[in-house]
């Protein structure tokens, strides 16, 4: 159809919006989710610094974040978003709920990864006189790195799917584009093009993540 000349630049803009939202949200998610996962791991019973009460409290908050359907979370955190960004509309505003949704998700994955590091390696480090933070820094995180990278990849892919929903409440991006141009104007070709584009992005991310994880695995 002839109007594709008009649509292409907008599709491109929407793609950039998605990459921007997901990119920034992923960065913040890693910065918050990894430490939270470490906290969950070390405070667990039998962990490096067992704090059963704190562990259960943090676990509860994390589960709450994961149990809540993302579309509900979007609405619920609107006041927080306004407080941080100043508005609840647009790609930048969408980053806040995206991050809040993804942090608990990543935290659990990080916890699982760290728990899989053999207890004997931790014990060996302690026998060398390592502090607890040394154990986290020199044993847990490096040994779990391939698995952490895999977890981060899964989280980023989930963020892309979340970001399509954020589009529905004015976040912009490919999801928003597919709804406004494809769904509401009955343009199946536009919907299809958007889906293909999302698929390419997800596929590329997964491929890069897998490769990275494999390059880190020495065992």
């Amino acid at each position: 159809m002839s109007d594709w000349n008009r649509i292409w630049p907008q599709l491109l803009d929407a793609t950039w919006e998605t990459l921007y939202m997901v990119g920034v949200a992923a960065l913040v998610t890693v910065l918050l989710g990894v430490p939270l996962g470490v906290l969950l791991t070390v405070t667990a019973p039998g962990g490096l610094a067992p704090r059963p009460l704190l562990h259960r409290l943090v676990g509860l908050v994390v589960n709450l974040g994961r149990a809540l359907p993302f579309i509900i979370l979007l609405v619920l955190v609107a006041p927080v978003t306004r407080g941080i960004v100043g508005t609840t509309i647009g790609s930048t505003a969408a980053i806040v709920p995206l991050t809040i949704g993804a942090v608990p998700f990543l935290a659990r994955l990080v916890e699982t990864s760290l728990r899989e590091v053999a207890a004997g390696k931790v014990e060996a480090a302690l026998s060398m006189g390592a502090r607890r933070r040394d154990v986290v820094r020199t044993v847990l995180l490096p040994e779990a790195r391939p698995s952490l990278v895999a977890g981060i990849t899964v989280t980023v892919v989930a963020l892309i799917s979340y970001s399509a929903m954020a589009g529905a409440v004015g976040g912009g991006g490919l999801g928003d584009f597919a709804i406004r141009f494809g769904y509401q104007q009955f343009r199946t070709d536009i919907t299809l093009a958007t889906v293909v584009l999302l698929l390419v992005i997800v596929q590329a991310l997964q491929w890069a993540g897998d490769r990275w994880a494999r390059s880190l695995a020495h065992a």
Partner: protein
């Protein structure tokens, strides 16, 4: 160098399982430069015991002293410092897969704050010491079990400890690697003047490297001492475990008395038979025997069937004991029943 005083470790009840007394009032002393073993069946509390020495496990009661420091009285931060002078090797090596062999050896040096160039140099030196100077860049996954344990030993020695703890260090290795690792442990003990405490369930390991050992059973020390003493002490359970008593042939004629004679390489070669046959004119039949190398010395245990009268037998036992030979009279049926 290492002193445990009436140490107990009780693990609290968890779920269905009641509380577990893993170590039940153990006292133990290891001298500087000694190669000491703790041997016992699985579940006897050996692994817990070795972890009490560097306080990876805090004792429920009792005291632990290493190199003159009363560890059980120290605050956590100082315990951490003290652990640097206590190296440890594990059954499953516990090397970091994310690091090379050299990187693993550098790990404790890093923790102690040593600079990068200095670490490199020291790691190279240590890998040379354990015979892996050419594998510095290899990942643990590329090394054999024996090589991994050598790297782990290099790592344990990196910060120049005075004590080395070995927790079943050869149990995951094949025979050839075991021999190599044990030789290495013995050599570093000799060269660096280390005190070694080795935990194992294998008597052959104790025989190969230890100067002294204790036998642990259900958390308690059953027997112990320098191997040379234990082997010549009548009725010693550890001595019997190290040098199993030969079993008499059940089909043999049952007249006469059975004597179990333990000889060492300090026993004059001809003493036993010369005394029994030559001097007392007894009839002697060798019903069984074994000779083993323990702690560098040769030890033999012979089961002799002696006929020739009760009076002659008493005289024989008396004379052999006077000559420094361990002689035990054995009830034939009990011996056969084993």
């Amino acid at each position: 160098m290492i002193e445990l005083n009436d140490v107990r470790k009780v693990f609290p009840a968890r779920g269905q399982a009641g509380e577990v007394v893993a170590v039940d009032g153990v006292s133990l002393a290891v001298d500087r430069g000694e190669f000491a073993g703790v041997v016992g069946p699985s579940g006897s509390g050996k692994s817990t015991l070795v972890r009490l020495v560097n306080l990876l496990e805090r004792p429920t009661s009792g005291s632990v002293t290493v190199d003159g420091q009363l560890l059980t009285e120290l605050p956590d931060e100082q315990v951490r410092q003290a652990r640097r002078s206590i190296g440890m090797v594990f059954q499953h090596f516990e090397l970091l897969d994310s690091r090379t062999a050299a990187g693993n050896v550098e790990h404790p040096l890093e923790l102690s704050g040593m600079g990068r160039a200095e670490r490199r140099r020291r790691a190279g030196e240590l890998l040379d010491l354990v015979g892996l100077g050419d594998r510095a860049g290899a990942r643990p996954a590329q090394l054999s079990g024996g090589q991994k344990q050598r790297v782990a030993i290099a790592r344990a020695l990196a910060v120049r400890p005075t004590v080395l703890l070995c927790d079943e260090a050869t149990s995951a290795l094949d025979q050839a690697s075991t021999t190599g690792v044990l030789e290495l442990l013995r050599r570093v003990r000799d060269e660096l003047g280390l005190t070694v405490l080795l935990i194992t369930h294998e008597m052959s390991v104790v025989k190969a490297v230890c100067d002294s050992a204790v036998l642990l059973d259900r958390g308690r020390v059953v027997d112990g001492g320098r191997l040379a003493d234990v082997l010549t002490r009548p009725g010693s359970p550890l001595g019997d475990a190290l040098l199993p008593a030969p079993v008499a042939d059940a089909g043999a004629a049952h007249d006469g008395a059975l004597l179990r004679v333990t000889v060492t390489d300090r026993t004059p070669e001809t003493l036993v038979l010369q005394t029994l046959i030559g001097e007392l004119g007894l009839a002697v039949e060798i019903a069984g025997g074994s000779v083993e190398t323990v702690a560098g010395g040769r030890y033999g245990r012979l089961l002799l069937r002696v006929t020739g009268g009760v009076a002659g037998l008493d005289d024989a036992v008396h004379r052999l004991r006077a000559g420094g030979v361990l002689v035990e009279r054995v009830a034939a049926t009990a011996e056969v029943a084993r």
